[in-house]
């Protein structure tokens, strides 16, 4: 049981089943058929139902495989081919996964800061973080990279090409 609960396919299957049910619930609130033809609920109903079914198939196949304690035979159950060695979701290594998620969080924070600080400053901060924290370069290198990269983007896009980028309190 504990093994099943640690399986990424089971969790992703559960999330997709929940999404499928949400789609079905929403679609049922809209017209399925109207006088003019299929309504806005028609198409979502069908792909929502398909998503729920397939997500449950994914979960059940994982549970069955786990109970049987063996890999499903390829070719007989095409929907359960996730059991091949390459398809097994690797167990999480929190050191490496943390680095990726930390970068993602920094990116998310930079986007939040875009409105008050503008593109140049928030992008410079993101670059500084990636160079210094993710790649472990000296702070001076990180600082220079951040300033040069942010300035290069500013000169290339808003100044030279006239492409709009978010501006903050400082006007850039």
């Amino acid at each position: 049981m504990a093994k099943i609960l640690r399986d990424g396919d089971v969790w992703s299957g559960a999330a997709l089943a929940a999404l499928g049910i949400y789609i079905l619930v929403q679609a049922s609130a809209w017209d399925y058929f109207s006088l003019d033809g299929p309504g806005p609920g028609f198409f979502p109903f069908w792909y929502g139902a398909a998503m729920t079914t397939l997500a449950l198939v994914l979960i059940i196949s994982k549970v069955r495989k786990s109970n049987a304690g063996q890999e499903p035979q390829q070719g007989i159950q095409p929907e359960t081919q996730t059991g091949t060695p390459q398809d097994k979701p690797p167990l999480l290594d929190w050191t490496t996964t943390g680095r990726a998620l930390g970068t993602w969080a920094a990116f998310a924070l930079a986007v939040v800061l875009m409105a008050p600080l503008g593109f140049v400053l928030s992008f410079a901060l993101l670059t500084f973080f990636i160079v210094a924290w993710v790649f472990g370069r000296p702070l001076l290198t990180a600082g220079i990279t951040a300033v040069v990269t942010a300035l290069a983007f500013h000169l290339a896009f808003p100044v030279a090409l006239g492409v709009d980028l978010p501006t903050g309190f400082f006007g850039f």
Partner: protein, 503 residues
């Protein structure tokens, strides 16, 4: 005979020095602007259209055709180098193009893309010259049921060939359909899945999804790989920066496949380069002696979709020039430009405006040569992007992604979505969900729903309309067969073994 004399007349127009110059400038500008994420051919043509307003119609349309070609090639450059598709039709190029770049064959991939563009573009123009009228009549027989069936066929091919697990491929596709549904309903203006967010009423922009899932997801995966993550290798020496004979030999069928598939699907109004590139890739993989290598960086995986993407240009002009029906956003803008110059595209265009019609056709032959001459020398230059150390390259990719996503709408809200789709791309990679079905489901979702609902309106809600029409029935039959194939044990064993051997 009439075609030959018309073409000769066209070359006389297109080879005038200033028209050659416009063609060259168009290709150059199109390539440069097209490289930027978010600026596909339609946006590039729209952006540069004002440059042609003061020109004579023949020169103007020749320059627009050059821009169209250049933008199409430019879109593949970032796909190959940075895994950032410049437009939806370049998504497939990412699959093998970026993997080639990771193996140190970025220059070769760019070269193959340029050569495929040349070969397929030329085939497309020959097709436009010779069989425009009959093909246009055939395209007219396509109605909503046929379009729905065509999209089902494209989606089935992608799901079959995108991973070992059909279930995950289909789930990825359905997720893409759901994302496409977000926004205002096409027919009734009903808001769907907007979570109370007004910016979602207009739907989710393609660039946000594509950049998030491909570029940000890839960067996060590479960062997870840690200190071992290397700068993408770029070999020294011009020879190593261009495709070798072995690679070109491997692409022979792919050039032909991409050319024919791209042209035929391009002829269909609404067919588009995206679906043709996916189908050409699917055919290439299905027919290959080593399908297990697709997705790991094989040159055919670049040549087929790039060829289809460019042959589509010639095909897309068939309904535009012979019937006055634009087949997509780019040709719609070209149509508006033609109307602006007082030229009426349609069956009489060859007689009423031979200079424009045949000048455009001839200029496309010239444009293909110009594009090849222009881009092959630039390949080594573009490949140098990969010499950047990763600690600089990754922030640059984040920066370009922000520019691409924000540039499409000018809303910080879209950057928030980019963050979400970036995490989704990373999670899909970790959980081994294929991303290509998601992207194609998203790109075709609205068109597919529209075609299905229009079909049912035509038939008073009778689903039999989809199988009562021969073309539609054939394509749906093939799509069903494709999805049922895995139920046949021996074939599926071979399919799964082929794909898993990739690893």
């Amino acid at each position: 005979m009439e075609i030959a004399s018309g073409l000769l007349h066209g070359f006389a127009v297109a080879l005038q020095p200033y028209n050659v110059l416009w063609c060259f400038i168009g290709c150059l500008l199109g390539t440069i602007v097209g490289i930027m994420p978010g600026l596909g051919p339609a946006a590039t043509i729209a952006l540069l259209l004002p440059l042609t307003f003061k020109m004579d119609p023949a020169g103007g349309i020749i320059m627009l055709a050059g821009i169209y070609y250049g933008a199409k090639y430019g879109g593949s450059t970032t796909s190959i180098l940075l895994n950032i598709p410049g437009e939806s039709s370049s998504v497939v190029t990412c699959l093998d193009g970026y993997q080639m770049a990771r193996k140190g064959r970025a220059g070769a991939a760019l070269g193959i893309a340029a050569i495929a563009s040349f070969v397929a573009g030329t085939v497309g123009v020959i097709g436009l010259t010779l069989i425009a009228p009959p093909v246009a009549v055939f395209a007219l027989s396509f109605s909503s049921p046929e379009y729905f069936a065509l999209m089902c066929l494209g989606l089935a091919l992608v799901v079959l060939l995108s991973g070992t697990s059909l279930t995950k491929g289909l789930l990825s596709l359905l997720f893409g359909l759901w994302v496409a549904s977000i926004g205002t309903d096409l027919f009734t203006a009903q808001a769907r899945f907007i979570f109370g967010q007004a910016p979602l009423l207009g739907g989710v922009d393609f660039m946000v999804v594509a950049i998030g899932v491909f570029a940000i997801g890839e960067v996060l995966s590479s960062i997870e790989a840690g200190d071992d993550a290397e700068v993408l290798p770029v070999p020294r020496g011009i020879r190593n920066l261009l495709p070798n004979m072995e690679e070109l030999k491997a692409c022979r069928f792919a050039f032909l496949n991409g050319s024919i598939t791209g042209f035929l699907i391009g002829c269909l109004p609404g067919g588009g380069a995206t679906i043709s590139s996916f189908i050409a890739y699917g055919i290439e993989k299905a027919a290959s002696k080593h399908p297990e290598k697709f997705g790991t960086g094989v040159p055919e995986g670049v040549a087929a979709p790039e060829g289809a993407n460019n042959a589509d240009t010639g095909g897309a002009l068939v309904p535009l020039l012979t019937l006055g029906i634009p087949s997509g956003g780019s040709t719609a803008i070209m149509l508006s430009a033609l109307v602006l110059w007082g030229v009426k595209p349609g069956p009489l265009m060859m007689q009423d405006s031979p200079d424009v019609f045949w000048g455009l056709v001839a200029s496309m032959y010239i444009g293909n040569v110009v594009l090849l001459i222009l881009n092959l020398p630039l390949v080594p230059l573009f490949a140098q992007i990969l010499r950047l150390p990763v600690f600089i390259l990754f922030p640059v990719i984040f920066g370009i992604s922000i520019v691409g996503a924000y540039g499409a709408s000018g809303r910080i809200f879209d950057l928030g979505l980019l963050v979400g789709f970036g995490l989704l791309g990373y999670a899909m990679g970790k959980l081994k969900y294929p991303t290509a079905p998601l992207i194609l489901g998203f790109v075709l979702g609205n068109s597919m729903e529209r075609a299905l609902r229009q079909s049912l309106m035509m038939s008073q809600n009778d689903l039999m309309v989809l199988v009562q029409r021969p073309i539609s029935a054939c394509m749906l039959g093939i799509a069903v067969l494709i999805l049922l194939i895995p139920l046949f044990g021996s074939f599926n064993k071979a399919r799964v073994r082929a794909i898993t051997e990739n690893g």
